[in-house]
Symmetry: C2
Subunit: 345 residues, 2 copies
């Protein structure tokens, strides 16, 4: 425990060369023929023998970069992020970066994590987080951090954003329900956030309704907490909505949809017979609900990969203007809506 980790100076001593040479050998860009094969071998052997690993703090201090990316999530209890994180990590690794996941609950300030301070990392990806629009993000940027937001609107044109086509997803989901003959279609959603015109799930929902000549009814939009329990509660409120009882709902995400499905069961309503449900995300759980959940599949891996790549480009090239990527989604039909009566083109 008290044992000091070996330094490059230790390696140099053992190999009988200067410390510079050690550094040169170990970081040697291929092609630069600075080092004789002989010393090269001596150094490498000495390093191996000592189990030498370059000190991260020293290198970061010297190079003014850490090769570390922080990935901020609101919570890790939604498996949605699992594929995103894995893909981001893999893409980052290809460029020599490590990814640290930092769950920061909605409402909490980013600065709770000291990892984001004092250039402890080179860039951050903020994923599906309320605070994306927070001025804190610009503060971090001002300190030299590269920033990309994932699954949210970019608060600043200089900040890249990588997201899926939420509106298209909402449209596909709702059109599917319309195509099955539903006219009273509810929408269960998480707390609404300011989003660019026409970019949200709900915008797609409204567009599909409009296209079908169904008037939008605000009573059928239920805002709830983003959890399974929130979905269950929302279903009850939806059933109580004024006017004719809805026969279907497009739900913000699969986690909420699991709660909706469960509550429909509790209320004695049959799915899809009495009520149809479409979720959003394409989580594994959707294949195991009763009935299996029709949902909008989101390209999570591509999202994570692209986020990492975009961020790393921003770190290394210092682009002044952000990129905006929007990835396509697709409808994933399972059992929670019944069969199509009028298949869409």
């Amino acid at each position: 425990m008290t044992k000091r980790a070996p330094t490059s100076a230790d390696v140099a001593r053992l190999a009988g060369v200067s410390q510079t040479t050690v550094s040169q050998v170990l970081n040697g860009k291929a092609g630069v023929t600075r080092i004789s094969p002989d010393t090269r071998d001596k150094v490498i052997e000495a390093a191996r023998q000592l189990g030498y690993t370059p000190n991260h703090a020293a290198r970061s201090l010297r190079e003014r970069r850490t090769k570390l990316i922080a990935l901020i999530l609101p919570t890790i209890d939604n498996p949605y992020f699992s594929d995103v994180v894995n893909a981001a990590q893999e893409a980052a690794r290809e460029s020599g970066y490590a990814v640290a996941v930092i769950p920061i609950r909605a409402g909490e300030e980013f600065r709770v994590s000291s990892l984001l301070q004092g250039a402890a990392c080179d860039g951050i990806i903020v994923a599906g987080h309320d605070n994306c629009s927070s001025p804190e993000l610009n503060l971090l940027r001002a300190r030299g951090l590269a920033v990309a937001v994932l699954q949210e609107e970019s608060p600043d044109p200089a900040i890249s954003s990588i997201s899926v086509d939420l509106a298209e997803g909402g449209y596909l989901a709702t059109r599917h329900l319309v195509g099955l003959g539903h006219r009273r279609i509810g929408h269960v959603t998480e707390r609404l956030r300011p989003a660019a015109e026409g970019r949200s799930r709900m915008d797609g929902y409204r567009r599909a309704l409009e296209e079908a000549g169904i008037p939008f009814d605000g009573d059928l939009v239920v805002v709830t907490e983003n959890s399974m329990g929130g979905g269950a509660a929302a279903l009850d409120r939806l059933l109580l909505a004024g006017g004719e009882r809805p026969t279907a709902a497009f739900v913000y995400n699969d986690q909420l949809a699991v709660g909706v499905l469960s509550q429909l069961r509790a209320r004695g309503l049959r799915v899809p017979g009495d009520f149809a449900v479409v979720g959003f995300d394409g989580l594994a759980i959707g294949a195991f609900t009763a009935p299996p959940l029709t949902t909008v599949d989101s390209p999570r891996g591509a999202l994570g990969r692209l986020a990492a790549q975009t961020l790393i480009r921003a770190i290394e090239e210092g682009a002044a203007v952000g990129e905006a990527h929007r990835l396509p989604v697709r409808l994933m039909v399972r059992g929670s809506c019944g069969a199509l009566e009028h298949p869409a083109p």
Copy 2:
């Protein structure tokens, strides 16, 4: 972007004091009256004005510690870890540490994450990970990293371990089923790992069986992949087992149990009428399955908190011998087993 972050020298210049003084003021242990209130104010104001944050790399290099803990998880797609992570993070924060979550898939080597190298962090918590027993852990320890393992056996007496009483959980779950009159009780489990005698879920399962005078039948133990799909597949294999068809199963975790429940439905078996199921973990999803899942609740928050606290103690006090904590579990009765015929004492 090109903007350099302000350093303590910048603050010193602005405040008209030496850089040493800035450091003294900003880190001043309360009580040490080295600094006049006047300079104090000047420095603090200057720092505020510049938005100064101490450089993490420089400080780490100088102090030979990073105040950073890595939390290694096999995957973040099991919400089990969500509470663990949050609690660990909160506990760490109380001691001024940040926690970075690093998902490293089972089978992958720890060194894939450069965060674990070169003293980039002060300690690591390895949670529910296959590779816990890997010699890599001892390598990291040899380099001065503090290590704690969570939810697994400690591979070395010097490494602390924090876990729940798996055997007790297995016992409670199985005894519950026995108490309801079941005699043919299956066990669905993830790939078996070497574990200390009498410490696994299956040990508890066997003990409950034995206590009830039910002979252990290896055909009723099905090993499967740790996923919902794995649970579904396992159920099919369980139904095909030799001898009389089992009427119940104790399942390794809730994620697998969701798959089991789903497959029972697919096979037309009613739960709990035809088949009873007990899970393990106490996840939120269990309240929303059809029917709601009886499970063994694990104290996830306490686990995470204790892991962080234990690790930080090891970091700061360099204890040579690890602690072993084992936390109690409790049975959480919901609908997947029916009512008790013979309530257990």
